[in-house]
Each structure stands twice: as C-alpha cells, then as structure tokens.
Symmetry: C2
C-alpha cells in the first residue's frame, strides 16, 4: 500500500489541476486547527503527530493505485505527465507542530505544513483524520482521568471503537491523555503502552462452576488476577473470590449499582483479610458517572472505561480543518484566508506563544521571548525537507508532557463543563493587521 489514495478524491483532482496549471513551483503553507472547541471541552490535548509523520515519511503511489486513478472519469483530461510525476512523488516539505500532549484552544494550529502545493494538498484528509481522532480521544481521556481524582483509569474500548485500527490508536491516545494503560494488546506492542486485562463472562461460564473458573484464573495470573464477580450474583461472586485468598489483584464489578455493590464487596474482601485487594468498576462509564461515583464515596480503586472513551461519545468528532494560509512563488508571497461569514480563517503562518494565563496567536516571524518571562513558543520544527529532524517523543513522554501542561491550566479550564473565559487567546497586533489587509484585498 502506498498510502497515496488514503485521501479524498478532490485532493487528487486538485493536484492534477495544479499540475496542469503549472503550479508545481508554488509552495503552500497549510495549518491544521479547530475552529471551535466541542461540547463541554475547554481545551484539546493534541495527539496523533507520530502517525502524521509516519504517513508523510511513507506516502507514495503504487502503480496499481495510479492505474486505478487513470481509470476514473475525473482524470480523463489529465495528462500522462501528471501520473509520471505522481509515481515519483514524495513529501519533501517542512512540518512544524506542537508536541503531542500539548493542550490547545480554538484557532491554534496543531501543525503547520509548508511544501510544494501538490505535496501539501494531498495529505489534508489523512492528517485531519489522524490528528483529529487521537486528539479527540486524548482529550476525553484527560477528562475521565480528572474525574477519577487520582484513581487509575484504563482504556477498554477497542470493541466499540470505529474499526479495529481506531481501537489501536484509541489506546495510544488515551494513554497520552493520562490513562494508566489499555486493554489493546497491539497498542502495547506498537507503542509501549502498558496493557491490562481481567476475564470475561464467557470465561466464567466455560467452567462447570464459578468457583472452578476463579481457581483456574488465580493459578494462571497470580498477583494479576482480577475476578469478574457479576456473572451470576455479585455478592456471592465476591464471597467466592475472597475465599480463595491470595494471590490476587482484586475483583471487577461490571453490572448493578456500584454505589451499593462496591461497599458491600469491599467489606467482604476486608473481612477475609484482603484489605489490599482492589475493586475495579467497568460498564458504560464516563467522566460524568465517575464524578458521581467518586462524590458518593464508592470504594473503587480503578475505573476501566470503554465505549464512551474510545468514541468520545458526548462529542464524537472534532471540527479540525486544514487551511491554506500562505502561497509563495519565487519571491512573491500571498497570504490567504477564507472570508465567508460563518467560516472565516486567519491568514499567514502562525506561532502560538503561551504565557502563564493566556496565549498570543502571532505571526510565525514574531518573537515574544525577549519581552516577557516564562513565555513558550509551542510550535517546533519536526520535519525539514521531508526528513524528520530528531526522533519524536514516545507515547510515555507525550503522556508526561500532557500531565505537566494540564496541571498548569487554571481550574475553570479543567472543569468538565464549559467554562466562560477559561483561557484567553489573543491575536498579536501584527497578525490582526495582516488579517485586516487580506480582508480588504479580496481578489475579484
């Protein structure tokens, strides 16, 4: 697979059009950002950069893919020279981006890509899907972890993710957002994310008795044993688990009301002397229900969150867009913006300067570092001339970075509900002026 066709058809017809119009010398700058934060989100945790880079490094068109394109009516008028160019096409541009794990706000670019127009246009679809999805899940994870108030959170959602591959990436993104680990084994191998698991109802049911299934599990997993105790009767299940003593990690509640069941199970474990045995809760959890369980004082040590985390169920999409902000041809540079009423964009390549309690969105050529202490420029060079300039942080490093950044956000920003004025993002005077100039100079 050459990855080249993993895009909307119009990216490829536009590429053909740019080629036929002689626009192969133009260099374009695109930025990827969200116009508005989704429902109840006061920030977005950027994630997915590693997969975006992998795509840019490997993206090409196989002969089968080119033959397919040539068979389409949309390419009937396209010259053979275009397809010859396509066969050799590689990404040779520059990529600037914020490190994975960085919290961002509306209109702040996750990444800035500068490349010959065709190379910059085709990746749009893949970059949006990659960055958009992982950022969505890392953000949801940060919310769930916040709600758990120091208790562990594990990502268990692969089965309900939007395809098996989405499940693999959900595990990665949730880890970056603060989860302790994932149930997805492929995620463990591919990204070094810690993997966890328990046992299913089918395990319990495949033995002649619940007790038999517990004994076998204990023999198998030792200190990693987590008994699923609700297959028949939760309290009975807890008694059977407790009667087997050590070694064990603990038990899992997957149905019923945990506010009632968890204290009863805790008591059974404690009375058996298993005070260090843990209780895990699963079953359609989310940050709102976890807040309620924590507030009710339910003695739950670890939450495993599946469907709602891997699909970001209360906000299942992120309005990421990828917009042309500059075009260069030789010495001529044009700044571009979309001016339609409800979907306007800001022209020019940008930098995000983060101060203690606000951001300044500025032109990429501006410098704020001298004037004010503690300011940080969030976008950094990642690829130059199509090459990665240094290894990207691991998922574990991105997770650490996210935790540090999130800890610095003020309270209203960290609320699970929409906060007014939770973080200020200002435009620098230079950027505001550029936007005004572009607005006045609407091409006829």
């Amino acid at each position: 697979m050459g990855l080249g066709l993993h895009t909307d058809l119009y990216q490829l017809t536009m590429a053909a059009g740019y080629f036929e119009a002689g626009k192969t010398q133009e260099r374009a700058t695109f930025e990827l950002f969200v116009r508005r934060l989704p429902h109840n989100r006061n920030f977005i945790v950027a994630a997915g950069l590693a997969q975006a880079v992998e795509y840019l490094l490997n993206f090409r068109f196989t002969s089968e893919e080119i033959a397919y394109l040539r068979s389409l009516p949309q390419f009937a008028a396209t010259s053979a020279a275009f397809f010859e160019m396509l066969a050799e096409l590689r990404f040779t541009g520059d990529l600037f981006a914020v490190p994975e794990g960085t919290p961002l706000f509306a209109e702040e670019p996750f990444l800035t890509l500068r490349a010959p127009l065709i190379e910059a246009q085709i990746p749009e679809t893949y970059l949006l899907a990659t960055i958009g999805y992982q950022s969505l899940i890392a953000t949801k994870a940060a919310r769930v972890v916040k709600a758990a108030m120091g208790r562990g959170v594990i990502e268990f959602g692969t089965r309900r993710a939007h395809s098996p591959e989405a499940g693999v990436l959900a595990g990665r993104a949730a880890y970056i957002g603060g989860c302790t680990g994932t149930s997805n084994t492929e995620t463990g191998l591919r990204f070094g994310v810690p993997v966890f698991g328990t046992a299913a109802h089918s395990w319990v049911m495949s033995f002649a008795s619940e007790r038999d299934s517990y004994e076998q599990l204990q023999k198998l997993l030792g200190e990693n044993t987590v008994y699923l105790i609700d297959s028949y009767d939760t309290i009975e299940g807890a008694r059977k688990a407790a009667s087997l003593g050590r070694p064990l990690w603990g038990v899992r509640l997957d149905s019923g009301n945990p506010v009632e069941l968890a204290p009863a199970v805790r008591k059974i474990l404690d009375q058996a002397g298993l005070t260090d045995a843990k209780i895990m809760a699963t079953g359609d959890l989310n940050e709102y229900k976890i807040t309620e369980l924590v507030a009710a004082g339910a003695p739950i040590d670890v939450f495993a969150v599946g469907t709602e985390l891997a699909t970001s169920a209360d906000a299942p999409s992120l309005g990421v867009v990828y917009k042309l902000v500059e075009l260069e041809r030789g010495d001529d540079r044009r700044y571009t913006a979309k001016l339609s009423e409800d979907k306007h964009t800001l022209p020019g390549a940008k930098q995000i300067f983060r101060f203690a309690s606000r951001d300044v969105l500025a032109r990429s050529s501006e410098c704020f570092s001298c004037g004010e202490g503690g300011v940080e420029a969030l976008q950094r060079p990642v690829m130059v001339g199509g090459r990665l300039i240094e290894p990207l942080p691991t998922a574990a490093e991105a997770r650490q970075h996210a935790a540090e950044c999130l800890a610095r956000l003020p309270g209203p920003c960290q609320s699970l509900f929409e906060g007014r004025e939770s973080w200020r993002v200002e435009l620098s005077p230079e950027l505001a002026e550029l936007a005004e100039q572009v607005r006045k100079g609407i091409p006829a």
Copy 2:
C-alpha cells in the same frame, strides 16, 4: 503483522487459561448481536462481514508478537507449550452470518461462530469493532438516504472519521447503506465503490481570482466540474460559474442558509440556460437537516454528508456484544447464558426466521420453512472448517440487498425517530424453553 494482537489482552490470557486447563478440545459457539437498538434507530443494517472474514482467514501470531506476549507479567506462569500452540494457531472453525445489508433488530445475531474455544475467544474484539462500526455507518447512511427522498447522497466524512482506516471503511459501509458513493479514493480502489469529489476552498484561493480557479477546474474536469461557490460571496460565485457555461456538473454550497441560497443559485443557473446543472449541498448535514431542507423545497440535487455520517454522530456507538451460547466437549453439550439482571442473554445457537411483518428468533436446529410461505432463514453458512465456502457478495451487491430489504420494512420502522412496535421479534417456543431450562440450572 499477524493480526493476533488486535484484541483485548484478556482474550489472550483467557486463551492461555483454557490451554492450561486442558480445554483445547472444547468447541464453543459465540453469537454477535446488539442488546438494544441505539437512539432513534428502529433497525440496524448489518455490515462488515467481508472484513471479519478477511481477519479470520489471515489471523495469526508472528514471532515478534509472541515474544512481546512472553515479556508481559500476565503470562509469567504460562507454559512454553501455550506459545508453541499460538505460533501455529489458525482459525479452523465455522462461521454463519446474515448477508451484509440485512436489517436486523435487537438480540438477533449478526453472526454465529463455532470453533475450538481458544480460536473462538480471541477474535471477539476484532469482530465487534469491525461489524459494530460498519453496521453503525451503514445504518446511519440508510437514514440519511431515506431523508433525501430520492436525491443523491455522497459520503464525504473521511477527514472526521475515527482514524484514516475508519474513513476507508465508512465509505464502504455508507455505500452499502444506500449512498451513491464516497470521496475516499482508497475505498474506491479497494471495494469498487464509486468515488466523487469537487474542489476545496484552498483551490479557489490558490489562484489570483475566483474566476481563474473556475476556468482551470472546468478545463480539468469537464462534465465532472463542480464549482465551490462560497469562498467569497455565494451569489457572485454562482454568477461566475454560470458565465462559464458548459461543460459542468454543477455547483456546491458549503456555507450560509441553503433554503435561501439554493433557490437564488438555481435561478442564476436557469437564467444562464444551465437547467441541467446540479446543486450539491455540503456542510454539517445529517438526516434531520436534510429532512428540513427537502420539506422546505430547497432545490438541492445531491447532499454530501461528512462528519455526522462517518461518526454516526447522534448515536456514535453500537452496543454490540459477543456471547458464549454453547459449549461442546465430545458428546457433552452445554447451553450457556449470562443471567445477571440488567445484561441477560439467550442460550444456544440461533436462526432468525423473517416473516412478512415479524421475525422469529429460534434455535438453529428448528425449521419454519414448511409451515408458512415467504419465510426466510437469515443466517447462512459463510466459513466451514476455516475456509470460505463461496465468494462473499461485493459491496455493490450488499447495497442492492440492503435496498431491497429496507424497501420491505413497514413505515414505522423506516421512521427517523423511534417507533413503538415497529417490528416484532418473537422467541420460538423451543428457544424460550431452552432459556428457561438454563435459567433454572444455574451452576453452583
């Protein structure tokens, strides 16, 4: 990649446990179904079987994957013999399933898998993610297509799908659900789904003037030309497009109020003699907004639906489960069910018999075909002994099948809103009796 690790860790620890407990001779039967229909859904269009089969045919463990598993604490007590078995493991079981495109209701199995316990357990996660996601999207597509009342619907959602691979599968599933095609080019190549596209705002902005960009597009795409007319001013954009005359397919509206804009644009096209030019609407559409646009008489010919379709935004997950229903060891056969209050399941392998206005969920050994005319058994054999028994229908054939099945559903079932008693699913007396027997014989 061996696909073997594309699963929850607990499937693999359970596999080790089954192996250590000597359960390698047991054959298990699992069924995949939804417990409840999601929000506003009166049916689910089954999709994803082709990818499920591809997985079962190719699923194995590479030596790298096995080495990773051996490094995990959860496998510390597992014997070397288990990993030797894993290295040779292939799917050798039987698969029964409803054809892709079949509408199903709560508790009706999409597929029934019978195999040695370990081979049946490990695929759970992948099968759920594959069938669950594609069925979710095929269902959403059927709703959007219904709302469009005969106007075309194209899937445009890859950029907001949950990962690039989800985008590829969304295009396939949306086509099965009734869309005319997709913008995802990889979907076109891989599954023969028709591909469509227009041009982006960046295309328009990359030229010195909007008119230049239109002229180039027309030269490139001829009869497939779709002008995006809202980059600066929609009415002005429509006038420029109309002034260029034929060839063209039509124009695309992507912002503003289409109820006001579409008639104005239609008038401009008609006055230029372009009565056959079409109007496409895009921009955060869904079945509810399309219903409104159609009801308002907006002269829109084709709807392209992105984010909400590729994420099934109003119901972003399907509660698919995979449950053990039978266990055989030699001549001994046990029927199993989960009995907990809020998540009970029905024991035994099943068949779905579809009558003119109701389904009967029966034991797989039952036969209804003699008694009543027009009854159809929906589950059919797909794989026997690990081999595909005949080529699966193409995406186009599945789409045709879906259209025929959906046309036969009664009105309340086809409503975009939840209908009471929209379709009856009864249990056969034999199945009800089996469920009662299993309930009475709870293992101690």
